[in-house]
Each structure stands twice: as structure tokens, then as C-alpha cells.
Amino acid sequence: MTASSHPAEMAISVGLLTAPAPRAARAPVQRTVEVIGRRPVDAYVELTLAAPEIAERAQPGQFVAFAVGGDTSALLLRRAIAISTAEDGVVTVVVSAAGPGSTWLTERQVGDTLDVVGPLGRPFPGPPAGARALLVGGGYGAAALVGLAVRLRAEGHPVDVVAGAAAADRLCSVQELIGIADTVAVTTDDGSSGRQGLVTLAVDELLPDAGVVYACGPMPMLRAVADAATAHGIPSYVAVEESMACGIGVCMTCVLPIVGEDGRTRFSRSCTEGPVFGGDRVRFADVGTLPWDVVGADAMGVVQP
């Protein structure tokens, strides 16, 4: 299935490869936590937080949301950051300084405190029994796969990883993943590390052996990986990154057109119904539009063409 086809009908006729990701086991908490480690890694900064109540609740694929800018901040909205690892009371995140909020986060020092809500969102569902898992991370998206890789290996699944980025300094968590996974392939757009090209170069080679695919990274990458997996008949789960005002499910800003279990497409919240979605359930090509077959589009005056 390509994303531009009509998944609503297809879902009903042929069915999808994935089930919607189930809710997390435990509810989030809000805490003031201390930064206990800060490590610049190439283009990113890794922050380590003493956050036992979040760590004990977190599952791979979930994220946290930080208040940014301090007491005098003009930035009202929290910033969502994927959890990289959560163990022994410690949560690790990798932050890229994109705009003012994430830049502020990267400037935090050991001993500073942060107001954080988490863990948020739905975790990656487990793989089919015995399946070989292919994990694909783009840029800092690879960080979000570290905890997943650990869990999969602990459960006895073979794990292949593909980490890609624009350039070597935008790769992330490669050392950690090498220590965990069976194989790690690296691609960069400019060839400054690993093979030159997009992650799909490596993904296409590894897909035939995979029983499930997990991906985290920019939307175009998720789309390419999900499409490739679906074309091979392999279930895929993608962790999307959509602009979020609340992160907890109350504002409806973060929606994507997602095909539900009944085959109908709804605008679903990526914070609470995602960020992990079945790769064949995200209508990538329709993101940013209002397709007529989304539930309730008729009430917006959009009619079947």
C-alpha cells in the first residue's frame, strides 16, 4: 500500500499489518528533577536526569515534556523529547538545539533542575515471537531506539540497527547501539560516516530478514521506511514527531490522519494515541491536508470529490 492510495477501503478489503499501539501500562507524573549529567555529543547534548518515578514507569518509545526557559520564560509550551534510556532511576535524553526552547535545554548544567512530565505517549509494541527486529533511527531519532534495543535483546530477539543522518555530526547513539545490537549499519547523506545515502539503502538489504521494523526520525524517513516494510509485508511501528502544545492529550493540536482498527481514518493525537503508530496506519501523504474520508470531514464542508 502506498500512502497516497485509499487506505480506508484497503484496510477493510485487505487488512493492515499492524494493530494500533496499546496504551502505556502506567500514567505519567509531573516532577522537578535534577540534571546529574550533561555530555555534548557532536551536534547534540545528552542530559541525564535523576528521575526515579519517571524511569520506573517508562517504556521504550515514550517521551517526556519539559517546561523551558525558567521562571521568566515567554515560552509557554513544553518541549517533547524522546526518552533514550530509563534505568536505575535515571532518564537519559538527547537534545538537538533547534530553536529557543531546545537550545535552552541544551544549555542546562549539572545541578540545574527541570520541570518534566512523563513518561508520555504509547510505547513500541512488542515484536512477533522470535522475530528479528530492524530498528531505524534518523538523526537524534536513534536515541529513542536505545532503550528498545536493550529490551528486545533481553527478550532474545535478534536486532539489526540502521542509523542515518545528514552528516557524521548528526548521527546519534551509535556507540551505545553497537554495544547492544547484532549489527549496526550507518548511512549519511554526505558520506562523512558510513555509507553515503539514505537509510533506505541499508534498510532494503536488511528487510528480507526482518520480522518487524521500528523507526524514529524525521517524517520523510518514517514514510520511506514504513512504505518499504509494508511493501515487504512486514509490520512496522514508527514514532512520529508532530508539533505538540500539551503533550498529554487535551489540546488536539498534534493530530495525524491515522487508519483505525475499523479501517476508517481519524485525526488521532500523536501524543496519546501515538507517538508510536503502525507504519501502515499513518497516511503520510495526507499529513497537513484534510482528506474527505477522515471521520467528520463532512462537517467541515469537505465532500467526496
Binding site: Q30, E34, P52, T113, C246, V250, C251
Partner: protein
């Protein structure tokens, strides 16, 4: 601080031990706290459960509901702005059926009060919604979101025309459960908010909710096009607080007997206090919830403490105090 988590934001923590009587009313409906959620900023309350004791807050003001399910607008639906944000959700929701079968029973089972926001594009829609909400368990009353385009008047927003606004309110008042107070929610985007307030209160509104968002726009410097899928959007958050307070002040000054549910940029107890002093007998906390999911409970506690420190023994005493 040691390297452990502190529990600075726990909405479940005991309310501050103050003697201030925090009970207030929404029209005829008594509520134990003057602090409510704001429509569209806490969905139907469920997601706040981990952070707030929903039975202790004044009420959950629910996301505006329409008759039919609505997809809402295409994304992007938000843009952060200095001390605020723009949204163009487009009233996404499952419609009145979903509300009646899913959301309201969930709230009622837990003893959570709901104040139901209704919206429509024709006067009859509003009346039908009010009708369907008669006698529904747990429903305290109705907030009428008239900041919607009126399809029968080339899309002019009801709230921007005293006559259209009154038509909606009188139809709702006639159709609604007599036990349900009807609050009209006003838009600040008018030349004379007092005249709209007077018109809807003459038309039977039991109270006024003020304010809805201000119409705004942001252009993305990269794409060089408006950020929002809906082009314009509603501005909310602390940025608009002075405008909201001015509206509450003006209307309370002109119509001191009309109850006001105040909102717009409330983030702390002292912000809420300003609204109460200006004339609001209850307040809604909207966008601040996105920053702090426990904001509604925290604002209650901070407001109670602030009232106590100032020698008030009840919130009622402080309502409109700044005019005296």
C-alpha cells in the same frame, strides 16, 4: 536540592490549610471551588486525572461539542507566540452522541461536575444541543460558545453581533433544562463588549464567560506563508491576560449583577485573584494547563492562600472588590 525528584507539582497534594470559603456559584449551581478548566484546553477531563483531583475542582468545562462528529482543521494547528499561542483546531470532536455516551458518563461516574460547552453554526443547532443535554447526570450547566461562524449570515461570528448572539442565547435558554444555568461565552474581538454582554444577558443568559481567544496570525519565515492550516487562529495565554481583565472589568462595571466566569491567560493564583477582584465569581484555566497539567488544582490552592493573606474569609467577598 538533592539529586532526587521533588513533588512540587502534585495536584493531589492537600489543599492549603486556609479558612477561606472557596464555594461559589455558576448561576444557580453551587460549586466547591471557583477554579474550572477552560473549554478546549482540558478535553473532557480524563487526561488530567493523573495530575488533578477532578472532583475537587469547580467543574470540567468540556471541549465545545457540535451535533455531528467533526474532523477539525488540517495541521499545523498551533503556533507558539510570545507568552501565548495560536490555535486553529476547528472544534474537532465526536459530536453530541459521543459526548453523551462516552464522556459525560465517565465524568458522572466519578462525581466530576461538568459544565458543557456547546457550539453550532445555526441557532437551531444550539437549541437542539441544549435540549439533548436536559437532565443529563453530572451536567451543571451550559456554556454557549458563540465564537462560531453563523452560516446564515455569511459566516459572521455570532459573538460579534449582539443580535445574532442574543438569538442563540434565547434559543438555548428556552430549550435548556431549567436547572441548567446558561453562560454565554464572549469574544474580545468586538468594538463594544459591554453592548454584547448586555444583549445576551437581556436574552436570558444566566452568566457570561469571558474571554474567548483573540484572532491572530503568524507567518512562517521559512515557508513565507501563514503557519496555521486555518490561516488565522485564536490567541490565548498570558499574553492576552490584560485584554481579558479589561473585558471583565468593563462588563462587571456596567452589569454588576451578571455573574462572570473569567478566563484568559490565568496561570497563577494571583492571576486568578485579579479576575476575581475585577468581577469574576469563578475562573477557567486554559492554556496554562499545557504548561502545567496540574495548573487547575495549583491555581485553586494559590488563590485560596492569596485570599487568606488579604483577609478575605470567602471568595464571594472578593468578587468585584477592585471596583469599590
Amino acid at each position: 536540592m538533592t539529586a532526587t525528584e521533588t513533588r512540587g507539582h502534585d495536584g493531589h497534594s492537600g489543599r492549603s490549610d486556609t479558612a477561606v470559603d472557596m464555594r461559589t456559584t455558576l448561576g444557580s449551581a453551587e460549586i466547591p471551588s471557583p477554579v474550572l478548566t477552560a473549554s478546549g484546553c482540558s478535553a473532557f477531563g480524563r487526561e488530567l486525572e493523573p495530575f488533578v483531583d477532578l472532583t475537587a475542582i469547580g467543574a470540567v468545562v468540556t471541549k465545545s461539542v457540535q451535533l455531528r462528529p467533526r474532523s477539525g482543521r488540517s495541521t499545523p494547528r498551533m503556533a507558539e507566540t510570545p507568552s501565548g499561542m495560536l490555535n486553529s483546531i476547528g472544534l474537532q470532536g465526536t459530536g453530541i452522541d459521543g459526548l453523551l455516551t462516552e464522556e459525560l458518563p465517565w465524568l458522572a461516574e466519578r462525581g466530576v461536575r461538568s459544565f458543557v460547552s456547546i457550539a453550532g453554526t445555526r441557532v437551531e443547532d444550539f437549541a437542539e444541543l441544549a435540549e439533548r443535554l436536559r437532565g443529563v447526570p453530572g451536567v451543571l450547566g451550559l456554556e454557549v460558545n458563540i465564537s462560531c461562524p453563523n452560516v446564515e449570515s455569511r459566516g459572521e461570528v455570532f459573538a460579534c453581533d449582539p443580535v445574532a448572539a442574543s438569538d442563540v442565547v434565547s434559543a438555548v435558554r428556552a430549550a435548556a433544562d431549567p436547572a441548567h444555568p446558561v453562560y454565554a461565552k464572549l469574544s474580545p474581538d468586538v468594538t463594544d463588549i459591554v453592548s454584547v454582554a448586555r444583549a445576551v444577558s437581556d436574552a436570558g443568559a444566566d452568566g457570561l464567560s469571558m474571554i474567548n481567544t483573540l484572532l491572530g496570525l503568524v507567518i512562517d519565515p521559512d515557508t513565507m506563508r501563514p503557519v496555521l492550516g486555518g490561516v488565522t487562529g485564536g490567541l490565548s495565554g498570558p499574553a492576552i491576560r490584560p485584554v481579558a481583565l479589561r473585558c471583565v472589568w468593563q462588563v462587571h462595571q456596567a452589569l454588576p449583577d451578571v455573574p462572570i466566569l473569567g478566563m484568559g491567560g490565568i496561570r497563577t493564583g494571583l492571576d486568578a485573584l485579579q479576575f476575581v477582584l475585577a468581577g469574576a465569581s469563578a475562573v477557567s484555566v486554559g492554556t496554562a494547563v499545557f504548561n502545567d497539567p496540574s495548573a487547575v488544582a495549583r491555581v485553586h490552592d494559590e488563590l485560596a492562600a492569596a485570599l487568606g493573606e488579604r483577609g478575605f474569609t470567602s471568595v464571594a467577598e472578593a468578587v468585584g472588590y477592585a471596583h469599590r
